[in-house]
């Protein structure tokens, strides 16, 4: 079982990003995903900056993968995607089938991110045929669903051609919109957002009127209100999950990696907080805890 660090979903200033990735270089993560996956207007780090960080991390011994965006709407955004595809060095995580299309054209391997709609063995088989090397389970699917896919005879002859990864820690990316909800929360239009999401390094919390944390606003992305946390499920993953993904948090990311690693065999369970959840993995509502 390997541990990966997902892309930073929030908009952090450049100095903070560079400091964070210096710590990542010294950390125990095996695999690191990086890149802007949420909004093309966020340009604290430009493509070349990400590439420089990627090279630094590779030299530190990490497997590096460039993560592309989920929602591409404009031709300019596709030109930026083309840079990711043409980087020439690093594996790319596709979060939109448009990225798969470009990668497939060049016969490049890819990681299918959680926002690629791969829900069954037949789709998985097709994607493997197109170059999929790693499959990140859609966030809403359960451990049982993953087993059900992997146990199908349709994919038994290609089971060695890909690895599996599960988003296991952090606020879950649940939706993407044409609208920027952070800008809306400040009564701004998206065109005049002034990149106000940089003021919210953990997004903006959305609560129900009786105080339940329901969502987190992160620009055009809506994240889960609760922090997803599968630290106590790792011992059930050994036959189906090759890579466990932790999503960068403002604080505590590396401490949690240590807790995850310690509990691989289930011998060092952690007490979940009241705002943690693990429902999706257990075939419950995502915000539930089982």
């Amino acid at each position: 079982m390997q541990f990966s660090l997902g892309p930073v979903l929030y908009f952090w200033p450049k100095a903070q990003m560079l400091q964070f990735y210096r710590e990542v270089a010294d950390s125990d993560f095996d695999i690191v995903y990086l890149g802007e996956t949420v909004c093309s207007k966020r340009r604290e780090l430009k493509f070349d900056d990400y590439l420089a960080v990627a090279q630094m991390l590779r030299e530190a011994g990490k497997q590096v993968c460039l993560s592309s965006m989920t929602l591409y709407e404009a031709p300019g955004e596709l030109r930026e995607l083309r840079k990711y595809v043409d980087n020439g060095e690093f594996l790319v995580e596709a979060n939109d089938v448009g990225a798969i299309s470009m990668l497939q054209e060049q016969s490049l391997p890819f990681v299918a991110g959680a926002a690629i709609n791969c829900y069954n063995q037949h789709t998985l088989r097709r994607l493997v045929g197109m170059g999929l090397k790693r499959w990140v389970l859609p966030v809403e699917l359960s451990g049982q669903w993953l087993s059900d896919v992997l146990n199908q005879s349709v994919i038994s002859d290609i089971r060695d051609c890909f690895t599996t990864e599960v988003f296991s820690f952090g606020h879950l990316p649940l939706a993407w919109s044409g609208r920027c909800f952070t800008a809306r929360s400040e009564n701004r239009s998206k065109d005049q957002c002034e990149l106000c999401c940089i003021k919210y390094p953990e997004g903006r919390q959305v609560s129900s009127q009786d105080g339940t944390q329901v969502f987190v606003l992160n620009g055009i992305q809506t994240l889960s209100g609760y922090r997803y946390n599968l630290v106590n499920q790792l011992s059930t993953m050994h036959n189906t999950v090759d890579i466990v993904r932790l999503s960068p948090q403002l604080t505590g990311t590396f401490d949690w990696l240590a807790k995850f690693k310690a509990n691989r065999g289930g011998t060092a369970p952690q007490q979940l907080s009241a705002t943690d959840s693990n429902g999706y993995w257990l075939q419950l509502a995502g915000m539930a805890t089982g």
């Binding site: 089938v97 829900y119 993407w176 609560s207 009127q209 606003l217």
Partner: protein, 330 residues
């Protein structure tokens, strides 16, 4: 320019055809389609009857098989494709890569449209799906008119856009908000904010709506209470309580009709397979008149006040919006 209307039942389908739809889209009576609601949709016998009726009137029948197939019940999606093909459907509306590939290989002559649930929001994504021989793409409701125009001008493929009805504000097919709260999503169960999870409670005149126990909204006695679709509730952000994601409102693109026509959009889709035959009849009548007007004199098109009146009366919260088509909405 085609007028494509929804039908959740035979009476709704007949209403659509009789009031001027060029084509009707329907779903089967199971979770293979994104409007899997109790009492709605078509079994095999009804499906055949629907095809007969539509064809007698020289119109087309589209069948939506647009959820994502489950690993242990994949055959259900295959069977849905087989059933629609044998019943005489003119078009399949598909989203899952596996189901697209199956339909393309098994029924190559049967037209395949890419469902909005496949979430193709850009030219590269459309190119991806071309390998499954699709002839049309239904564009998600997150694009601005400018973005729709850019796709229309750079893509040699028929485009269908949503013209009227419930407004999804998230990129369809990649929204998991509903399963986060209830365990059921459009992708896996064919439903968003399912009715089985809805509860209403009256607290001394204040009406509360909940979804799986989560408070979605509170309505004062003088307010109209809407269905608790989770993205249209009032929540608190910072010190403000407001519709943090979207107001209860319906999409209405009548004002954009000349632009959509000028860009050669092939089809206008009316949302609402869950709606009554009377609703379908009224909406269809208005849009038939509007399309006929724009086609006969595109430069002199005026939105008739009584069209807007009818549509406003049939809208969520009696409000309509141009949604993402209009940059200001964003």
């Amino acid at each position: 320019m085609e007028l494509l209307c929804p039908a959740g039942s035979m009476p709704a389908l007949k209403a659509a055809i009789e009031h001027g739809a060029d084509a009707v889209y329907i779903g089967l009576k199971d979770d293979t389609n994104a409007r899997h609601f109790a009492g709605l949709n078509f079994d095999e016998a009804r499906l055949k009857e629907a095809a007969r009726f539509v064809h007698q009137h020289g119109k087309k029948l589209h069948v939506a098989i647009n959820t994502f197939a489950h690993p242990d019940n994949y055959q259900r999606w295959q069977r849905a494709v087989d059933m629609a093909a044998h019943a005489g459907a003119d078009v399949l509306i598909l989203a899952d890569i596996a189901v697209l590939a199956y339909a393309a290989e098994r029924y190559p002559k049967l037209e395949r449209h890419l469902s909005v649930q496949a979430s193709a929001t850009n030219v590269a994504a459309i190119n991806f799906y071309r390998q499954f021989g699709i002839s049309r793409v239904v564009l998600p409701r997150v694009l601005s008119m400018q973005q729709v125009r850019a796709i229309a001008r750079s893509c040699e493929i028929d485009l269908e856009v949503f013209a009227f009805g419930s407004l999804c504000i998230m990129a369809e097919g990649r929204c998991y908000l509903s399963s986060y709260m209830t365990g059921q999503s459009p992708n896996t169960a064919g439903a968003c904010s399912p009715a089985a999870f809805v509860e209403w409670q009256d607290n001394d005149g204040t009406l509360e709506s909940r979804l799986n126990g989560i408070l979605i909204d509170r309505f004062a006695p003088n307010e109209t209470a809407g269905y608790p679709t989770l993205c249209k509730g009032r929540f608190s952000v910072g010190d403000d309580t407001y519709h943090a994601l979207e107001e209860p409102t319906s999409l209405n693109t009548l004002d954009l009709l000349p632009q959509l026509y000028a860009e050669g959009i092939t089809s206008l889709k009316i949302e609402g397979r869950q709606r009554s035959p009377a609703y379908v009849a009224q909406i269809t009548k208005v849009w038939r008149a509007a399309i006929d007007a724009v086609v006969s004199a595109p430069d002199h098109f005026n939105v008739q006040p009584h069209w807007q009146q009818v549509l406003a009366g049939l809208s969520e919260g009696s409000q309509t919006t141009l949604g993402a088509y209009h940059r200001k909405w964003k």
